[in-house]
Symmetry: C2
Subunit: 398 residues, 2 copies
């Protein structure tokens, strides 16, 4: 059997396993080191009581005749209604909201809507799954120089205040856009997102908008969903996740909004196709996870989301303050759990190694997120408070 | 944006939503009818106490500082070890076992290894996801006559005792093979599976072996995994699931075995690619589900698997006996939870409608599983005992 040539186009390993490997190697050669991770964006705190009770009850009732339930292909109706009312003011019907086992998995599957040869435009730097998933789907060629052939990188750097030049977007592209951004922590404002939507419409593009960090937004003027922007429902799909707000990354629960008003150029409904794809090669998120999600969205649960995201934003402030004190330029960390630190003219992997060796702190090298991430380091605010405080003290060694 | 042309190749809806729709319509026009479903293969009984305690504890500990865990990308090591020892006598290393959110989802993703244009051979009839997933992946063309262009259907009918003529398999194909079979309930014996492995090797094929129903096998001479066959580890991937044996379809947990000895024709490792794909567009099964899976595989849990599969096999016997009493030819139901009933010369959907109208029992029309399923009906043994008994009484009206 022949190997799918698209796989061969993917270079090296996926970013985070590569970082885990380097961490393991360092730990093996430095058994005395107490390594602290500010690397992967993985929540660390216990699930808060009310949300946890939802998970426990979801598991418990499967053991009872009255509470048992099997496949939940399309997701609990009640959960989809709740998502629409909590996050979208009831704008969407339940058949426009698809429960997933997480944003990453849906990002991988959504490419099937458009197929091989699709033109891709991504913020640069960006969450690696947009690009790697596109390569696997045949929407990009091999790696050449600093990026993959066929992908339009939209640099987001200090020079443009981390919002891309939309004129670079080609006609008929699939645009991946993430705000609050992973990794830069930058949040696009209403004017910026309006210009993005207008660009997408005028260039017949579709946006896959990743709003996984929206619950970290504290500035009331910043949009928490692309659907706050007029006409976004004719040009955008939104993916989102319970992982970060409810703090249960390993439980696997997210959702995608595919509006019925979204059409291909032929006029056919994208929603209908997505429903068919999800029904054919996916089988729904865990019913236990959905019970937890439901708890996370009631009055008590929403308080817990606020409490937990406040906690991680508190970590973010500590890291940001420590970096600023060291004279390092950085953004993010105010409306997002990521701090993006600039080490101008330096190689990201080299800084990564230096921080690991000098401070025993794991970070993420900016270059792992795309060519424009070179010279940057991402600090993640997901960690225990004592560890974050200790990491901040150690950073002074830099 | 253009629609992926592969989607347009898919005809109508996925089988089971279509059945659900017809059921809803019937219920709406016959509000008095007490409909019983022997249709979808969806478990109905509460999760048994020990396995359920594993799920509850998996959820509970996420609420504690000591027990919290985040992403489990590759799956719990302990669970992968347990799967290797319980199902494969320890034959595989943990890096050959990949935890999934269910067999259906992995079947959809595995196609990425080979890509568009792959030749596909399937048992006919077969679980719809093999064919529909292949169409979505561009490994088949449009629907013509009774099947999809580019797919080699391997008829499994009463005439060949439900084992296909392997000479029909083209060189270099991806072979989907399911035993115990869904929908026919037939189980391939050691000689048959040996001939399948030999055919795959001599024709440079790879088998995706679906063993999701292996725990229903009672005949000790029948193989429960393709890896009981010599050299299968050079030509096969096995997908499997906790859904049916542990009886928690909605919890979402399965696994795939991709042996390191499995190579593409170029000599490259399939295992390495699968690891990369899983890491890139998947994020692991729910950690709560994995805690339940771990409980299901210890001594107490394995007793529960036996107890639960015995229960459903008891249902299967009732259905089979009722059909035989009516003079209807059928197979399956002894080492599998499906009974495949032959209504020679009749149209499947017509029999489906007749059973629904006369008996208020939902079944699955054989033609929904492929052209050779025409004239057959699948009865699923997943149901409450009282419902199955009542359904059997009503079937006498046929």
């Amino acid at each position: 059997m022949r190997r799918n040539s698209y796989i061969a186009n993917l270079k090296a390993g996926y970013l985070f396993p590569e970082i885990a490997k380097r961490r393991r190697e360092f730990a093996a050669s430095h058994p005395e080191a107490k390594i602290i991770s500010l690397g992967v964006g993985n929540t660390t705190e216990p699930v808060l009581p009310h949300t946890n009770a939802g998970l426990v009850e979801g598991a418990r009732k499967l053991g009872t005749a009255e509470g048992y339930s099997g496949y939940q292909d399309e997701g609990l109706e009640q959960l989809r209604e709740k998502i629409s009312s909590v996050f979208y003011r009831g704008k969407f019907n339940i058949d426009e909201i698809f429960i997933s086992d997480g944003a990453k998995c849906d990002i991988g599957r959504l490419q099937i809507l458009f197929g091989a040869g699709t033109r891709i435009a991504v913020q640069d730097p960006s969450y690696p799954v947009y690009v790697d998933g596109s390569v696997l789907a045949g929407a990009a060629g091999g790696f050449e120089g600093a990026g993959y052939k066929g992908i339009t990188y939209l640099p987001c750097t200090a020079e443009n205040n981390f919002f891309p030049n939309l004129e670079l977007i080609p006609q008929n592209s699939l645009i991946y856009f993430c705000s609050p951004n992973n990794p830069t922590g930058a949040v696009s404002d209403r004017i910026q997102l309006t210009s993005l939507v207008n660009a997408a419409i005028s260039k017949s593009c579709i946006i896959i908008f990743d709003a996984a960090y929206s619950e970290f937004i504290r500035d009331p003027l910043l949009p928490k969903t692309i659907f706050e922007i007029d006409k976004a429902d004719t040009c955008a799909i939104e993916v989102n996740s319970f992982s970060k707000p409810a703090g249960f990354t390993g439980v696997r629960l997210g959702w995608s909004v595919v509006p019925k008003t979204l059409k291909y150029e032929s006029g056919e409904s994208v929603n209908t196709d997505w429903n068919r794809i999800a029904g054919t090669i996916f089988n729904g998120a865990s019913n236990i996870a959905q019970a937890g999600g439901l708890a996370a969205l009631d009055v008590e649960g929403l308080k817990e989301i606020r409490e937990l995201t406040n906690f991680y934003l508190g970590n973010a402030k500590l890291i940001r303050d420590a970096l600023i004190k060291l004279g390092i330029n950085c953004i993010g960390g105010d409306n997002s759990p990521y701090i993006w630190a600039h080490f101008s003219g330096r190689d990201s992997w080299e800084i990564f190694s230096q921080i690991l060796e000098k401070c025993h702190v794991v970070t993420t090298p900016g270059a792992g997120f795309g060519p424009a991430g070179q010279g940057y380091i991402r600090f993640s605010a997901f960690g225990h408070r004592a560890d974050v405080e200790e990491a901040c003290r150690r950073l002074e060694k830099l």
